[in-house]
Symmetry: C2
Subunit: 148 residues, 2 copies
DNA sequence: TTCTAAATTTAGAATTATTATAAATAAAAT
DNA sequence: ATTTTATTTATAATAATTCTAAATTTAGAA
């Protein structure tokens, strides 16, 4: 046995890019959370541990990782900020338009769709953004009691 | 027989809103095209026929229609503009990141996912954004011949 | 037909997420 | 060491969208 867990970040070096502390920290944060954070949120979380971090670096890194297919950009979720997801396996993301959180929903059907689309479209499919939106249980309760 | 095709725009008046010429034209344009246009594109198309039209009205109307569930906001497609879709039935949208066009893909699986998500999540599902992205056949050809 | 109040449109200003720029730093190659 | 290349950083610029307030339209009452 050589190495049991080859990190997707290895792809960086294969592409002639460097595995810097900033890139490592940003990717590690993304894999360790299930909150689908935005660039600004990542920046705020990492700033204490990483005094000199720049927001531009966060954006640069996220774009790099997306282009390498290591992470997915999910787009906005009621807010107007792009949310990122280190889980690139086919799954359903479910966003609450009221509190702007995104959770994952297990679904066996998504993988079938992925194949269906790849085969019947003529497109070269690079990624998927399966995002349902609505109101989470907590925010539903607040909605049903509108004002007061 | 009273009326065979009740337009979704009837919902406007039921919600106490007015069915203005601008709203009617914007919705008609969306239903008659399959191009999933942006607010700016809708504005440019309607400006000749509608001299006094304002871009703010296009944004206002699109937001109104989205909130009523009459149309869907698909989000960006490689560009950074929100694309809109008058087809609210469950279907797969497929975006080309190179030319920023979006086409529809028929899929029976999407409807099942919609139910699956609604039942197992506890969310009140208001809409779906099923968007795959990649390269369309035309842009694939251009990619394989990178420079020159 | 006026009159009045609410809804809507409009032009333009403001906001803000993201991208671009250019200098400083760090790492790799020679 | 020196040179080159990649990267980070601070900051400015961009541009999609939203906000604001005045003008216009509409529906209904008088
Ligand atoms: Mn996810
Ligand atoms: Mn569509
Ligand atoms: Zn919520
Ligand atoms: Zn294309």
């Amino acid at each position: 046995m050589v190495n049991s867990t080859p990190s997707p970040l290895q792809n960086l070096q294969q592409a002639g890019l460097r595995l810097t502390p900033q890139r490592e920290a940003i990717y590690a944060l993304l894999t360790e959370t299930d909150s689908h954070p935005t660039a600004a949120e990542i920046y705020e979380i990492l700033k204490p541990r990483f005094a000199s971090l720049s927001l531009a670096t966060v954006y640069n890194t996220l774009e790099t990782l997306v282009n390498l297919g290591i992470i997915n950009a999910l787009g906005g979720a009621g807010d107007s900020q792009t949310h990122y997801d280190a889980d690139t396996s086919p799954h359903v993301n479910l966003a609450c338009l009221a509190c702007n959180t995104i959770v994952d929903i297990p679904s066996t059907l998504v993988q079938e769709i992925h194949q269906e689309v790849s085969q019947n479209s003529g497109f070269k499919v690079l990624g998927a953004r399966v995002l349902y939106y609505g109101l989470c249980p907590t925010c539903q309760a607040k909605e049903t009691t509108p004002n007061r």
